[in-house]
């Protein structure tokens, strides 16, 4: 059969019921996208922003205060006991690191998978990643007890010839997390450059509208700063070519990091022999859980954001629905891992292993186990229903469940495995103290302070990438390409 003949038998049209929904609604011109996103940075922040910032700032100060109290007093202020010598600090560390996974997954892996829908959400998700890793980084630092010796975590030459234990996964964490943070920051910053230049140019254009001398000075200062950080970007062909190449390379480099960081975090537990911790599925299970929790937090942040800043046409219901599907898939993978752990605990015939799992479900911490199962395995199954995954307020509620569930997952892994030692004489019950709880609550303040500053000063949506996925950007578009945006701000 000749090629044209074969082609002629194959139908290439798509029935209207199955046409893909657009990624930017209402066929908006390109200039509208710029105005909508840059307008958030250029305009005054609403009153709620100031209130939210104030509350978050106070929470952050509270956390720092408790950390100061911890440092000056000692880890005795935490609820640690024998045998639970690892409590909320490690739980919170893993929780925040997990949240920091969605950003790089969206920006790097979905980029390599050519998933165009990522463009509306990647910037915010990446920012969230960086802020979450900052929050996570606090806990290993303070949990060493004598924080002034935290530099021992790094293999630095010293007079006592003391080296870290290279066989400890906690040391691998130091390298994994710091590499992840560095690459994520670079990736995020590089993606910002063209948009920072857009803001710089718009500031220059709007300079004439400044009425007072102070306004003019602020405008000049902003021009200088945005100009400085946009590194002389003029959008030339050469700039774009270099940018595209570097972005692809960084995406390639970031992809293994997404997997490696949480795999190494899982090694913190899995390399041991402790029942409940030593299980071979931990690395991929932790990665799936991290993606799950990361997407939960992305949705928690994005749903209010798209409403408050009128971004519903850029972060559409389709975007939310796709993220819900990721949550459903990863939640089910996590459910598979929970089931497999239980099954192999039974299958393996090790009585301690089986006891550890029975104890999780029916022991003193049964409530935490069932919160975990309800939030992580059952609640995502609601997204089988189209209504559930297309109703923003409902998605928001489920995303909160996901956040709660994933914190409890780490609590279940850490505490329930430790609180029953082999000898009943070494059994205990762990309860957090006020310091444990409020230090953790305060990290949400730090996270929100950073996030609010981000939406205040940086374009929270990748303007140039969103434009690239609109029909107008396609040179073959029937919409007429550049004609549609004539006179527009782009």
């Amino acid at each position: 059969m000749s090629e044209p003949a074969a082609h002629s038998q194959v139908e290439t049209s798509t029935p209207k019921e199955l046409v893909r929904e657009p990624l930017v609604l209402n066929n908006r011109p390109l200039g509208w996208i710029t105005n909508q996103v840059a307008g958030i940075v250029e305009g005054d922040m609403p009153k709620w922003w100031n209130i939210a910032f104030g509350v978050s700032f106070l929470l952050m100060l509270m956390s720092f205060g408790y950390i100061g109290y911890l440092i000056t007093t000692g880890v005795g202020v935490w609820g640690l006991n024998h045998p639970v010598a690892w409590g909320w600090a490690i739980v919170n560390f893993v929780f925040w690191i997990g949240i920091g996974h969605a950003g790089t997954l969206i920006s790097a892996i979905l980029f390599l998978l050519r998933q165009k829908w990522r463009t509306s959400v990647n910037r915010t998700a990446e920012a969230m990643t960086i802020f979450a890793v900052i929050c996570a980084g606090i806990f290993p630092g303070i949990h060493v007890g004598r924080i002034w010796l935290a530099w021992w975590l790094f293999p630095l030459p010293n007079a006592n010839a003391i080296w870290p234990q290279f066989r400890s996964p906690l040391l691998w964490d130091v390298f994994a997390v710091s590499t992840y943070f560095t690459v994520s920051l670079l990736f995020w910053y590089m993606g910002l450059i063209p948009d920072l230049a857009t803001i710089r140019d718009r500031l220059r254009k709007n300079a004439g509208q400044c009425k007072t001398g102070l306004d003019k000075m602020i405008n000049k200062l902003k021009q200088f700063l945005y100009g400085l950080f946009s590194m002389g970007w003029i959008g030339s062909n050469r700039h774009w070519r270099n940018y595209e190449k570097a972005y692809l390379l960084l995406a390639g480099l970031s992809t293994p990091l997404v997997l490696s960081v949480h795999s190494i975090v899982s090694f913190d537990f899995a390399v041991s022999q402790l029942p409940g911790w030593h299980t071979t599925i931990f690395p991929p299970y932790f990665v799936a859980g991290a993606v799950f929790s990361g997407f939960g937090m992305v949705l928690t942040l994005m749903i209010p954001m798209r409403t408050i800043f009128n971004l519903e046409e850029i972060i559409t219901v389709r975007h939310l629905e796709l993220m819900c599907k990721v949550i459903m898939a990863t939640g089910t993978i996590v459910g598979y891992a929970y089931g497999m752990e239980f099954f192999i605990a039974w299958y393996g015939g090790n009585p301690y292993e089986l006891y550890a799992f029975k104890n999780r479900a029916f022991g003193p911490y049964w409530w935490s186990y069932w919160i975990m199962i309800s939030c992580n395995v059952i609640s995502p199954q609601l997204f089988w229903f189209k209504w559930c995954r297309t109703s923003p307020w409902f998605i928001f509620v489920v995303s909160i469940f996901v956040n709660i569930g994933m914190w409890f997952e780490r609590f279940v892994i850490v505490v329930t495995s430790l609180h029953r030692d082999y000898l009943p004489a070494s059994w205990g019950y762990y309860s957090p103290t006020q310091v444990d709880i409020l230090t953790f609550v305060g990290t949400f303040g730090l996270f929100m302070v950073l996030f609010l500053l981000f939406i205040r000063y940086l374009p929270s949506i990748t303007i140039f990438e969103v434009k690239a996925v609109t029909p107008q950007a396609d040179p073959h578009s029937v919409e007429g390409g550049a004609d549609r945006v004539k006179g527009g701000d782009h």
């Binding site: 000749s2 074969a6 194959v10 049209s13 293994p256 390399v271 497999m340 299958y347 393996g348």
Partner: protein, 427 residues
């Protein structure tokens, strides 16, 4: 619709020669198997099981590829969907039939736990006697094939019906319990169920099967890997084992999908595939090369580091004698060589690289299966036998024969896939 479309290569003189190769393989395989069976029944049983698990990988991997095509609503993979559906349909009845000899040989020659008269004598067996008893093993094995049969054949049914949609030949009918699933989607999902729009109906049905199918696929694949492969040494346990078999299976399938597309295109039977499909399949092969390594490394590393004797014995056995070389060959051959080879962008489109890679992937995946199975009967090292080749030729030849029959009985490319435009136009 003309006959030339439904059987595009039937009148091709040239194709008849290469189509007889599987039949010759079956004959040779049968002779070698008979010889192997007479020589050493246990060796034959293990050789046969190894070959079976190798080809089961292709069936399950293809099913996974079909499932994710629908779940991701992918565009690029539309032209390669049909032959993957045919590969997946080999699971039932053909791989089910191929399993029958394993069922007969299982108690006496393959699974030592089936020979334990009193499970009380063996703690590792006693704790899981609810699953590890003969009736459950046979019943579970049967159910696995029945489920795979249902899923693969319904997916292919709707796919083939879609080709006929909008014509008088269309005869797509919901089969129980598809009525219930369809009514669930209509009533609870708010999805219009366009019975009068046959093309859309078929896509909806395939997506529905893919949605629940992928969840059950994960559980059934895991159960199959445990019951048929891991249970050779029933004392061994690893939560990763199902994922491990899955990773290797998809790796083999992607490579096979690439080569099948290349052959069909070269023969002029599938002109719809272009660089887009070859590139994406090559990239997926690289991704699964890394994924398999990640999974197997994690399993090995965690067992090695914890050094719990109940687990380490499995790897200790595989580090003794000449098995140590096989272990190293897996690290180098299953990961390093394909990883370094596939890194470059252009090689994913190059026959000179991808054809040897395909042969290499076959060898490595077979070696991986061999590494799992054979140390039980050859603790000192690999011991190639005539039956190994015989079983591969017999099962492989039969499956390729059936596959080609299916392939040429239907349009090789889906004719009315709603995403075909994306696959063809953007090359």
């Amino acid at each position: 619709m003309s006959d030339a479309v439904t059987t595009p290569a039937q009148d091709s003189e040239e194709s008849t020669n290469w189509r007889s190769i599987p039949q010759i393989a079956v004959v040779f395989g049968l002779v070698l198997c008979m010889y192997g069976l007479v020589q050493d029944k246990q060796q034959f049983a293990f050789s046969y099981l190894t070959a079976f698990m190798f080809f089961l990988s292709l069936g399950l991997g293809s099913l996974f590829m079909v499932l994710i095509h629908h779940l991701f609503d992918a565009g690029w993979s539309a032209p390669i969907r049909r032959y993957l559906e045919h590969f997946s349909c080999l699971l039932f009845p053909w791989l089910g039939v191929a399993f029958i000899p394993i069922g007969f040989m299982a108690p006496d020659y393959i699974y030592p736990w089936m020979q334990v008269a009193d499970p009380h004598e063996d703690h590792a067996l006693y704790v899981k006697k609810a699953l590890f008893n003969k009736p459950t093993w046979y019943a579970a094995s049967t159910l696995l094939f029945l489920f795979w049969g249902w899923l693969t054949h319904r997916l292919r049914y709707w796919s083939l019906q879609q080709d006929k949609s909008g014509t008088a030949e269309f005869e797509g009918k919901l089969m129980f319990p598809e009525h219930l699933i369809a009514s669930f989607y209509k009533n609870f999902q708010g999805l219009p169920f366009e019975k009068d729009n046959q093309q859309v109906l078929c896509t909806r049905m395939m997506r529905i099967h893919a949605a629940y199918g992928v969840v059950l696929f994960a559980f059934t694949l895991t159960l199959g890997a445990i019951l048929w492969m891991k249970s050779i040494q029933h004392q061994f346990f690893s939560t990763m084992y199902g994922v491990y078999y899955f990773a290797g299976s998809v790796w083999l399938t992607i490579s096979t999908a690439w080569i099948t597309a290349r052959v069909l295109k070269a023969k002029g039977l599938l002109p719809q595939v272009h660089n887009l499909q070859f590139y994406h399949l090559g990239t997926m092969l690289l991704a699964f090369t890394v994924f398999y390594a990640y999974i197997h490394f994690s399993q090995y590393f965690l067992i090695w580091n914890a050094a719990v004797p109940e687990e380490t014995f499995w790897y200790v056995l595989r580090e003794q004698g000449t098995w140590a070389y096989v272990s190293w060959a897996l690290i180098i051959g299953h990961f390093l060589i394909p990883f370094l080879t596939l890194l470059r962008i252009d090689v994913k489109l190059t026959n000179k690289v991808m054809v040897p890679v395909f042969i290499w992937v076959i060898l490595m995946h077979y070696m991986d299966m061999y590494f799992n199975m054979m140390p039980e009967i050859h603790p000192d090292g690999p011991s190639p036998a005539v039956a190994d080749l015989g079983a591969l030729l017999l099962i492989g030849g039969t499956l390729i024969w059936v596959f080609m029959r299916s392939l040429f009985s239907h349009p090789i490319c889906p004719l009315r896939d709603p995403r075909m435009g994306e696959a063809i136009e953007h090359h």
